[in-house]
Symmetry: C2
Subunit: 393 residues, 2 copies
């Protein structure tokens, strides 16, 4: 019987091309001083930075800023933001960017409300923070779903750790999702983001041993089909509003709890990929694309083959009359073709200059905080994970 | 290009069979005095009344009550509740029942916070109420979706009006969705509720001239397929948890904003049906079942036939190679078969003892508050509505 669950998601979403006008009134509801957090400067190139600052100042807000948040955001950068928030008495944080900028802002918001200067204390649970500064976001890439959930992932380059942080207090209060802000996302990031979206569905709910609600299983198929349909269009026509809008809302749905329905599990592929990104600083979605087909091959067995086959039949149109095993193999093939041919991502870790040098350490590390085993579709020990990494070479 | 939209839904959902234990702590967060609102007494027969009172009193709350809310809830009953709330200083209203009980409680909650004793003043917008008492619900039938939205429908038997009320303030704070509480719902109400769920999808988003997001259109198909799959199972096996759970979550999704994505329209069939229920006090979902296939036949044209055909191909498995018109006709046939054969509902208004005596008045009334025309999939004048009613005889 399916699991009981609690569902609540308070984030207010402004979706569409003419919504940024509401940013001023929403921010002003939290106070006078806003910290604008962003990444490498693409928001300046596309004119979004100017628009945001203009709307905020017209609404009477004082804008401080922290730029330069890294693609795998670092705890040291978060700590810089914490310092600014405290020194300037910031009332609300506005993250303008993708998952990295939003994640950094989340941990920043929680740390400001905690008795420490170092956000890493929260990440490793040395310090708890039940509160946080209010957070708003303006999303610029469809990928992580961070714009409508309470999770974040932060990297510590000193210890080479990349760890999740979760607190209901850091759920964004308001997020602005304008598909036109993703028109300029380069092909590589569009492809990687699309993989990340699919991986959230796979890792969180689709590939699970837990009983699930049929309706949500069907809806998961449709979210996956949305990516398979529109990611190739966005690659060919970066300014295609329909494609960008579908990818954007799908990315939010993939990780905002709508699809969960009581299925809750460790996210095997994500944990394995976080180790890759922590050690080699590669793009998360690309690492996932390389891992997922090998992981599926490795974990497939007689009990779960029907679920992998289901991906093939319901999402990639594979012949339903095949046996579970045959169908599952065809599904993995179709998924690989989608990642490596259609989306054009390199298919091997060696293509990214990664060898087996750190595989053992990474595998141990992925399991370290979870009692030695990654629980999921099937449980994985460090030995299993090393073998999966090796399949990716 | 698709419409911009704002999405937010704050309701906290406890879904599953062992969640009622949390009712006490959730209610206590709002105060000490709770008004328990319910309908005809089925909650006593299934033991739910005792369980609820037990949990509330153990959590230290004082329980007042108002039973006897009608299937088409009356403004006079709501006013009784308003009086109790004021006299006893109620802190939170707990609706235990279906859409009628929840709708009555919503308008009650808003009226208590308004400068009037008569809730009808709010319904006809003579008085505004931006606030409301907090509202919680324990749902006992999958149908209206009222457990997770801000709308209600109230009847005035004096004026024979059945009108909608909408206010963000009346959105339930917490709703308990336990599929086992619907095991005892009789076949007729299970069937009618299932039609209501499908009608919400049809009326709100599926049959619309507005541009829509492909992902959500696909998800709508799946919610409809969920009903087509599980309503017959629930009829045959009333205690089937999986069937009841899928119907329950589908009913919530059908009207909680998840599926909308910027499509917003008058709900033609619902407005036409509300007139039937107002005059003849029939079951809402049954009235909808009789109306919808005739309405589809009446509004079908060369521009929209593909949308009706889509229902046939994507939900009822009709041959995709048919022409739009042929496919649409087959779809209407399949839908009629589902309502009248599979669900076993009588197919004609005359089966319910309704003749054409009031058709003109009802048609005029349905359009009265909307400038003379029901806007929707196609716009309907009173003449159109009379013709559709006549097709239902």
């Amino acid at each position: 019987m399916m699991n009981d669950f609690v569902f609540q998601n308070r984030t207010k979403i402004y979706f569409g091309k003419d919504q940024l006008t509401h940013l001023g009134e929403e921010a002003a509801a939290f106070g006078k001083k806003v910290l604008l957090v962003y990444g490498g400067g693409s928001i300046k190139r596309i004119g979004l930075y100017d628009k945001v600052v203009d709307v905020l100042t017209k609404a009477g807000l004082t804008v401080s800023e922290l730029g330069g948040v890294e693609p795998n955001p670092r705890h040291t950068t978060v700590n810089k933001g914490v310092k600014i928030c405290r020194e300037e008495g910031i009332d609300v944080i506005l993250a303008v960017g993708g998952g990295s900028t939003i994640d950094a802002s989340k941990v920043m918001a929680a740390t400001v409300a905690a008795p420490t200067d170092d956000c890493w204390d929260l990440v490793i649970k040395k310090v708890e923070s039940p509160r946080a500064l209010p957070l708003m976001t303006v999303l610029t890439i469809a990928a992580t779903g961070s714009e409508m959930n309470a999770g974040a992932v932060i990297s510590n380059v000193d210890t080479k750790d990349k760890l999740p942080y979760f607190s209901p207090a850091v759920q964004p209060a308001v997020s602005f999702l304008d598909p036109t802000n993703t028109f300029s996302v380069p092909a590589y990031q569009t492809a990687s983001g699309s993989v990340d979206i699919m991986a959230h569905v796979f890792d969180m709910v689709y590939f699970s041993r837990q009983p699930r609600m049929d309706m949500l299983y069907r809806v998961q198929d449709e979210v996956l089909k949305t990516i398979v349909t529109f990611a190739p269009i966005a690659l060919k026509e970066p300014d295609n509003y329909e494609a960008r809008a579908n990818l954007m809302w799908a990315s939010t749905w993939a990780l905002n709890g709508f699809l969960a329905g009581g299925v809750s599990q460790m996210t095997s592929c994500h944990r394995m990929e976080h180790e890759l990104s922590a050690v080699y600083d590669i793009t998360h979605g690309h690492g996932l694309a390389i891992l997922i087909p090998r992981w599926l091959k490795y974990v497939m067995n007689d009990d779960n083959a029907w679920q992998i086959k289901r991906l093939g039949t319901n999402v990639f149109g594979i012949d339903a009359s095949l046996s579970d095993r045959e169908g599952a193999e065809k599904a993995i093939e179709a998924l690989s073709d989608f990642f490596f041919k259609t989306l054009g991502l390199d298919s091997r870790l060696s293509d990214l200059g990664i060898d087996d040098k750190h595989f053992r350490d990474m595998a141990e590390n992925a399991c370290k905080q979870l009692g030695g085993t990654l629980h999921g579709f099937i449980d994985l020990t460090p030995d299993d994970i090393v073998k999966i990494y090796e399949m990716c070479l």
